[in-house]
C-alpha cells in the first residue's frame, strides 16, 4: 500500500510541475492545486499507513482503547487543506483579475515586470 501511495504522490508532483510549466495561467493554478494535494498525500503516507481505530476517547475513559491511528498527521493535513483552500481561492481571484487587465491567458504576455 505504501509503495502505491508513493507512486501516486510522485505522479501528482510530476503532473503538478508539468502543468506549472505551461504558458496558460489557468493551468498554472491547476498545477498549484495538484502540488498542494501532493504535499498533503505525502504527509499522509510518510506518517505511516495503518488500519487502526479512529483516535476517539470513549466517554468513560482517559485514554483511547487499543491501537488508534495517529491523529496528528490528520490534523496537519486538515490544516494544510484549509490553508491551501484559502490561498488557492486567492490565486483564482488573482488570475481572474490578471486575465482582465492583461487580456490573455498567457504567461508570455506578462513579461513587463521582468528584467
Amino acid at each position: 500500500m505504501t509503495s502505491l501511495m508513493a507512486l501516486v504522490v510522485g505522479v501528482l508532483y510530476a503532473a503538478a510541475i508539468y502543468m506549472m510549466l505551461r504558458r496558460s495561467i489557468v493551468k498554472l493554478v491547476i498545477g498549484l492545486v495538484l502540488l498542494s494535494n501532493a504535499a498533503n498525500l505525502l504527509i499522509f503516507t510518510a506518517a505511516g499507513l495503518r488500519r487502526d481505530a479512529p483516535p476517539l476517547v470513549p466517554d468513560d475513559a482517559q485514554v483511547p482503547a487499543g491501537l488508534v491511528a495517529d491523529p496528528l498527521a490528520q490534523a496537519l493535513i486538515l490544516t494544510a487543506i484549509v490553508i491551501g483552500f484559502g490561498v488557492l481561492a486567492f490565486a483564482v481571484v488573482l488570475i481572474r483579475r490578471a486575465y482582465e487587465v492583461v487580456e490573455a491567458d498567457d504567461m508570455h504576455q506578462m513579461r513587463d515586470t521582468d528584467t
Binding site: 476517539l56 466517554d59 484549509v82 484559502g86 481561492a89 483564482v92 481571484v93 481572474r96
Partner: protein
Amino acid sequence: MTRERRIPPPDRNALRTQSLILRTTGFFLLPLLLLFALFLLLRGHNAPGGGFIAGLVASAAIAVHLFAMSEAGARRVLRVDPRDLFAWGLILALVAGVLGLFSGQPFLTAHWLTVSLPVFGELKLGSPLLFDLGVFLVVVGTASTIIINLAEQDT
C-alpha cells in the same frame, strides 16, 4: 399562505435562479444546515465537531442560498457584512485566549465556569467554547466573503 408563495420569485437578471428545484431545496436547506451547524458547534468538545466544521457547514448553507437565490439574498441572510463577522470572530478567539493570561497561565489555557440551571442541571461553560465560537465566525466570515465577492464579480 401557501408554501409556493413563500418561495421567492426568480430573479430575472441571473441565469442560475431559473431552476425551481434548486430554489425550493435551497429554501428548506438553509435553516436545516444552519441548525446542523449549531449542533456541530456545541457538540465539538467531546465528539467530532467544533467551530471550524460548523463554520464550513454554515457557509455552505449561505453558498447554497446564493446559488439558489442571489448575491443580495445571501447578504440579507447574513444581515451583517461578512468582514465584520471575521473581525468579531478574531476578537472573540483572542479574548478566549487572553482569559488564561489573567490568572498568570499561558495564552489559550482553558477556563471553565459551572452554572446550575433549574431545568438543564449543571452546565459547563468554558473558554474553549468562546474560542470555537470565534473560529466559527472567522470561518463563516472568510468563506462568505470569498464566495459572495466571486459571485458578484461574475455578474
